[in-house]
Amino acid sequence: MKRMFFNKKRYAKENSELDITSLLDVLVILLVFLLKSYNASDLKLDLVKNLTLPDSEQRKLGSQNIVVQIDKNQSVFVDNQLIGSFSQGSTQTKLMEILKNDEEQKPTKKVINLVFDQDTPYSIIQQVMNSSSQVGYSQFKFIVKGNY
């Protein structure tokens, strides 16, 4: 009985070293893919639901500014906060108020990021651009998806 106990103990000691080589292999492969998908742009954007970005050949990296998003149903989001829909008349006034407040807080930054669904008609884009330029934004950055 005593002998059996000692044998068990020795057996356990021999197998205590875990072989992590395979785990390391997996992690290195993961690292390669993550490094490949790394984007140096400081633009961090949470796309709202029902919004498909159009594909583009442009390769200019974006920067962080106030973001206006318009989805398929023409709902308007400013920095991911829903403010209404373009089918309602008051939304444009509300949008202008929010943009004006932001412009007053950061008077040097005159840049606005515009994120539209690919099916958005130009009439909506025009309204957003006009509202933004009226409250002082002079540069528009249309956010698009890179195609390969």
């Binding site: 159009p54 050949e57 442009q58 008609p121 130009y122 009439s123 651009m129 890179g146």
Partner: protein
């Protein structure tokens, strides 16, 4: 003869594993799985239809878009250069290259879409207006695209 037993020395991989774990954590935090880029444009030009009394006649490249066609207009009193369907965008780009060769200093184009044109089509036309591809290398065509709002 004494047998020399070869000692198999195992490499300690634990520190490198720790480092990779930390690296993966930061990369996952900063990873963006959709590549997003920007197309820059300035404040839209607002013009009235009656103020075309400039003495000089610059290029004034104007691209008018409707749901089915794109038209290139040139000059302050806009003259139609050519119209294209959305399937003829390569031909459109070739003609822009010809215009650019005649006016190498010109960098801007004015875009005038009608209200029912979709954003996807606008982005597509901007792509073809801004850049040309020469031997797989991208070269600027009319880099500055400005929207026009007619009152």
């Amino acid at each position: 003869m004494k047998k020399i037993k070869k000692k198999t020395s195992k490499l300690n991989l634990i520190p490198i594993l720790d480092a990779i774990f930390i690296f993966i954590f930061f990369l996952l935090m900063s990873a963006q799985f959709i590549d997003m880029y920007e197309i820059g444009t300035d404040k839209p030009i607002t013009s009235t239809l009656s103020n075309n009394d400039n003495k000089k006649d610059p290029l004034n490249l104007t691209i008018k878009m409707n749901k089915t066609a794109i038209s290139i207009f040139l000059g302050m009193t806009p003259k139609l250069y050519k119209s294209y369907s959305y399937q003829e965008l390569n031909e459109y780009r070739t003609d822009l290259q010809k215009i650019k060769a005649k006016h190498p200093k010109e960098t801007s184009a004015i875009l005038k879409p009608t209200t029912n044109v979709s954003y996807k089509k606008i982005v597509n036309v901007i792509d073809y207006t801004k850049e040309q591809s020469i031997n797989g290398r991208k070269v600027a065509l009319f880099e500055q695209v400005i929207f026009n709002t007619e009152l």
